[in-house]
Structure formats: structure tokens, C-alpha cells
Amino acid sequence: MWRPSSVDRPTGIFIGLVVICLVLITLDLRAQGEGLGSTLRDGAQALFSPIQEAFVIVGRPVADLLESASDLFSLRDENRRLREEIASLEAEIQATESVRIRVRELEALLGVDAPEEIDTIAARVLAIGVSEFDHLRVIDKGSNEGVGLDMPVIEEGGLVGRVVAVTGNVARVMLITDPTMVIAVRVERTGETGVLRGRGSGPMGFEMFDTDAAVIAGDVLVSADGRFPAGIKVAVVRESARSDVGRLLTTADPAAGITRIDFVKILLWTRDDAVVEGFEGGDRLPTAVPLDPAGPAEGETEVAPTTSTTTSTTLPGSTTLPGIEP
């Protein structure tokens, strides 16, 4: 028969600590990202970020050396690929320019106000998550520079993620590849909408419902969600697919180079939580897009930049989008 005295001291302490862990997990999950857990996280990140910054500076020569060694064999291929990409982008810029002029002419003809620009802040990636399962980046800009919760983060390729925690000088960005991330997107070529899901590593899952459409490899997926400004390039379809009984399922690669990001831009753009009756837990309106060029949609907040370091940007992948002027 089991008796308490038959449990040795380390086992007793272990059981006690496991119970404490389970209580902590329960309390933190019930707090839903707020409360004491959130405060402690912010405090720990604020205290630890100077150490991370110091390590970034001290460790840079070592990291550069190791990185150079591992990149040595791929440099030539990458150089050729980049040259091809530059040529392709130059052609794209010329095509975009003519479209932009035509949009302006049409806007003038229709008496539509020129669209608002979205201000951005450039930031450097300080650190990554503590494990392979953390799809996080710590950036060196925080609320002191105007960064706020839920702001979209981009790099030259496309959408990187969104801000999930902010302290004075740093912020944490959850990557779009996180398995808990679900993004409403639109196929740029056809205008059909669907859902993009993070799968940790590798390609993301792309799903379309109630459709008889098809997607082809190379189709660009842009954001079409209230959580992000419409038109940000998010991913590129990897495998062509056709709908089967109204449902289409395929994979797509993130447009941004998620695994190797050094610098990002935070879009100073937020959207108030728009709660629909009947939706639980403060679900956001699943509406698409502040496409109204006359101004921000209802529930959308314009954020005033608080520092002089902000710049305006054209969202990656968006060429003819109202709401964002190149």
C-alpha cells in the first residue's frame, strides 16, 4: 500500500514543482495573455534585452565568421539569383509605374482623395525565441518609438508577423509561420479569398472553401484581413491545386525570408478590436480590407507616429492598392 513516507525527498519536491507548474499554466491560460504573467514577461524581456543587445554586439564577429563559412558555397548561386531578381524587379517597377499613373488619373477623374500613406519604423532583429518551437523575433524598437500591439511587421519580401508584446525599448513579433497563426488572404491573380495557416517550419497551409477555383504554382497571396492592411504580400503558392467538392487545399511558401531576417519594418497601423455579436472571445470581424480609399474603415485607428524615425512605405507586393501610396 502506498504511504507518503515511501516517497523520497527528491520525488516529493518533483511532484510539488509539477503541481506548481500545472497551476501556473492554468492561471496563465485563463488570463489569456494578460494579468501577472504578461507583466512578468514584459519585465523579464525588458531586463534581459540589454544582455541580448550586448551579446549581439560581442557575438557579431563570431556569428559573421560562422555565417560566412556556412554561406561560402552558396554565395555564387545567390549572387546569380539576386541579379536575375534585380532584372525582374526593374521590369516590374516600370510596369507598376504606368499602373500607378493610371490609378492617379482615374482617382482624379472620380474625385477620390489621394490615399493615406502608412508610416513605418525600421527595426533590427535582436534575438529569436528560446527554442525551436518559438516562432518569435525580438526587435529593438518598442513603445517608446510608437510600436504597439498587433501592428504588422514586414520586410522587403512581404509580411513577417505581428507584434504580440511590447516594452519600452523592445517588442516581440510572432511570425506568420507560427502554428497558431491564421491569416485571411486573397489570391492576387483571381481575387478569390482563402485562409493561410502557419505550420511551424516549411510551407504554410493554404485553404479555400466554397469555391470551384484553382490556384497555380507562383500565385501571390496577399493579406485580406482586418488584422493586417489589405494587399501585403504574404506567401506564394507552391503547388498548383484545384478545388475538390468545393474545398481547395495546397501549400504556400512565405514571401518573406522568415528564417533569415536581420531588419524589419513595423507598420504603424492598428485596427480596433471589432467584436461581432455571436462571436466568442473578442473575435475580430472577418471582414476584408480597408479598401475604401476615402479613408480608414470603421473601427480602424490611425496611429500618429511618435518619433522622427518613421518613414512611409509601399507594402511589399502591393502595386495598385488604394490606401497605400508608393
Binding site: P10, L22, I25, L29, R41, V130, S131, P179
Partner: protein
């Protein structure tokens, strides 16, 4: 417990977390990095008194939790379990040092698998990760490669004079 070992333990754990989140952000062969904090917990748990080893695992895990977006206590549970297993097996490892490499491999795989399972139970969808096998296997292999360095450095930092000849032997 004396102040010096405590200070050394805390300092090395902070160092491990800093290296894990900064240096290994850029140096990631095959897009993976070692589970350095887990390895350091393993290394300390071999030498600290049982109670302190468990508390050290718990503290290190809690610190990881504070820097992650996982529920507070998840890493604490995993690293406490790692410390507990090490405490249970360390005497046997002293006798059979040849088992130390496989032990590091096994404990890293076990710890990361436990994290993935618990993470999924608590809504983190970790098992849905497309690269789950790679994310468990590669850090375990890297930990085995780093083990001779870390497992030697920790007792030296603690001021212990039990260094012996084998790469894994202390």
C-alpha cells in the same frame, strides 16, 4: 547551498539563454540550433544536490517561459522533469560514462518531445509543426556534439576538481 555555486549557476543559465537567443539566431546549420539551456540544466543536475538540481531546472524553465510566448510554467515543467531524470540516473552514469552521449541524446529528445506533447495539450499546436521531427532530432544531435564542452565547463565553473580523461567523463 553556498552563494558561489548559486551565483555561478544563475550566471551560466543566463549566459546559455543569451547565446541561445542571439548567437544561434544567426548560426543555424540545417536551420536548427542546440537546446543549450536544456544541456546546461542537464550538466548542473549531475553535480548539484537533488533538491537544488530540481529547483534549478524549475527556475531555468520559468526563465525560458518568461521569454517565450508559451504558457507560463510549460518549460518549467519540462526542465524540472529533465533535472529529475538526471538526478535519478546520475549515479549510474558515473559508473558507465560511455552511456553519457546516448543519455544526452535521449534526454534532449525526451525533453523536447514532452514539450511538444504538453504544448499541444495546452493549445500551442506544437505537434502540428511540419518540421517536428527535425526540430527534435537536430537539437539533440547538436547537444551531443556540445556535451563534452558543456559537461566539462560546468563542474569547473562550480569549482569541482573531478575532471578526468574521457570526453564525457567528469
Amino acid at each position: 547551498m553556498k552563494i558561489r555555486p548559486t551565483a555561478v549557476t544563475v550566471a551560466i543559465l543566463i549566459l546559455a539563454v543569451a547565446v541561445q537567443t542571439t548567437l544561434f539566431a544567426r548560426f543555424r546549420p540545417f536551420d536548427a540550433a542546440p537546446a543549450l539551456v536544456m544541456l546546461v540544466v542537464l550538466a548542473f543536475a549531475r553535480h548539484l544536490p537533488s533538491e537544488y538540481a530540481l529547483l534549478m531546472g524549475f527556475g531555468a524553465g520559468l526563465f525560458q517561459d518568461l521569454l517565450a510566448e508559451t504558457p507560463l510554467g510549460l518549460w518549467a515543467l519540462v526542465l524540472t522533469a529533465v533535472a529529475f531524470v538526471v538526478v535519478r540516473f546520475r549515479d549510474r552514469l558515473e559508473d558507465e560514462v560511455g552511456y553519457l552521449g546516448p543519455f544526452v541524446l535521449g534526454i534532449t529528445i525526451g525533453g523536447l518531445t514532452l514539450f511538444a506533447v504538453l504544448g499541444t495539450i495546452f493549445g500551442e499546436k506544437t505537434l502540428a509543426d511540419a518540421g517536428i521531427i527535425r526540430k527534435i532530432a537536430l537539437p539533440a544531435v547538436y547537444n551531443v556534439l556540445l556535451a563534452p564542452l558543456v559537461l566539462r565547463a560546468v563542474p569547473m565553473a562550480l569549482g569541482m576538481s573531478r575532471y578526468r580523461d574521457s570526453a564525457f567523463r567528469l
